[in-house]
């Protein structure tokens, strides 16, 4: 399998704060990776660095062989939309929803590529297959939904694009165990052709399902920590 994402010596942070320390990571086409680490150890910052949302960064990030990294000290978010269009789908922490748009409009927002926009009706139907509760809520404002429903909308919006690399940040955060279990089941069952990285604190939600589980500690990768048996 060819490498889809290749990260070399990536450091990133905000102002004087260095969060990531020379990270190396490679992700193959079709891989589903779990990224485990405690709060504040750099999982979110790694995702933000891949989409140029950190304050500064340096190091190489290659998406399908194309360099999308490099050094910069300013311009957080300037290239994010462009990188997303290259095929990176993101479901960020805190969902970043549009509270005044309906569920349907929300999903349409995610269909940013030409062909996704053309086929948006069919794609929305596919999202409803993955997250059935959204079908009845399609005309409700997202600002009035519960936490679990918002998470489904956020992941649904990410799936609307035709991304090759999906970055999903703590899908279980703030959800009741039963609901987070259901969201994770839906995520693992997704018909995704590209690669997927799921950052998660709760290793039990990843174990047995991810192809690899990587540890992250104090801004450094800990390598494959393997599947942990939990009773």
């Amino acid at each position: 399998m060819p490498e889809l994402l290749q990260i070399n010596k990536l450091s990133a942070g905000y102002g004087p704060l260095r969060v990531l320390h020379e990270i190396d990571l490679s992700v193959k086409e079709g891989e589903r990776i779990g990224l485990v680490g405690l709060n504040g150890h750099g999982k979110t910052t790694l995702f933000r660095a891949i989409t140029h949302m950190t304050g500064w960064q340096q190091g190489s990030i290659k998406l399908d062989g194309e360099e999308i990294g490099g050094s910069r000290s300013l311009g957080a978010g300037r290239r994010t939309a462009e990188l997303v269009k290259k095929g990176i789908g993101v479901a960020p922490q805190g969902d970043a929803i549009f509270p005044g748009l309906s569920v349907r409009k929300h999903l349409e927002c995610g269909a940013h590529t030409k062909s996704a926009w053309r086929n948006r009706r069919e794609r929305i139907e596919e999202i409803f297959e993955v997250f059935p509760p959204l079908r009845n809520l399609q005309h409700s404002l997202v600002g009035k939904l519960s936490g679990g429903e918002r998470r489904m909308v956020s992941v649904g919006r990410m799936l609307m694009s035709e991304a090759r690399l999906y970055l999903i940040d703590e899908p279980s955060l703030g959800l009741a165990p039963k609901i987070s279990q259901r969201v994770m089941e839906a995520l693992w069952a997704l018909p995704v052709s590209g690669a997927m990285i799921i950052a998660e604190q709760n290793i039990s939600l990843l174990t047995g399902r991810a192809d690899r589980i990587l540890g992250m500690h104090a801004g450094r990768m800990r390598g494959d920590i393997g599947h942990v048996e939990l009773n």
Partner: protein, 308 residues
Amino acid sequence: MDLGLVIYALNLASIYALMAIWISILWSSVGMINMAHGATFATSGYAAWLISAALKPVIAATFGKGAIASAMMAGAVLGSAIVAGALCGAVIYALAFLPIHDKPNYSVRSLIITLALNIGVVQGLLWYFGPRNRGLPKVFGFGRWELWDTKIRYDQAGTILGAGLVMMLTLAWLRYSRRGLEVRAMMQNAEGAAYSGISRQATALPVLMLTGALAGVAAALLSQTIFVSPTAGVIPLVKGLTIALLGGLGSVAGAVAGAVLIGFLEAIVGAIPFLGQRYVMFATFSFIILVLIFRPRGIGGLLDNTRE
């Protein structure tokens, strides 16, 4: 309250709403308080004046003096004001947005740059055209209707209907077009918009050009009652900004409500014998300050309860 007063109030409200809506949208989507709005207003007025003066003999020679000639003239005035306004918007994009939009303190910097642009353009117009007022051709013709013993001038009726139509069109554009959806998404969550492939650089240009075009429409409509002059944009800018604040920056419904409230307040204060026109500004600002003391987020917080 007699009907004449209502018409006068609606006339003011429609012009204010045209200005305030886009100041509000511009702030919440592009993150910019556009002080150069006043310069756009004045420039569009002058463009309409120049183009209509240049086209007058041509139209008179081709179409004579009939209804077609008046319609052509109206088209020339409105069209040139809209085009000039949109071009001003593009210039503001190039000077006050592109170079600084990802630098720290962008909002304050763009405020200062657009304020400087505003002063520069107003001085430039003053230097080139002089302080004399210029009258635009009457887009809606001369005359008045009688309605229940009240006389309604054509330009008043035209301004209210025209502004209403333009506002409906822009709101429909925001609601139903794909670009409008992107603008609304950006207004509500910039990070989520970026993750949906909506770039601020790409969206800011049409938003700024539309803002400028609407300032152009407002200029052409307001110049039916007042004159074109280099400082003609100052009062609409100040009114537009304060009404946008009153309505709650970022709330379209709030801006419209604020414009209607202020329009009626001004008309009523102006009509009360012992107060009159000289107390209009005093009453307006007192009202806005009072509202903001009790509702710091403006009245928009009431109407738009889904914003965070």
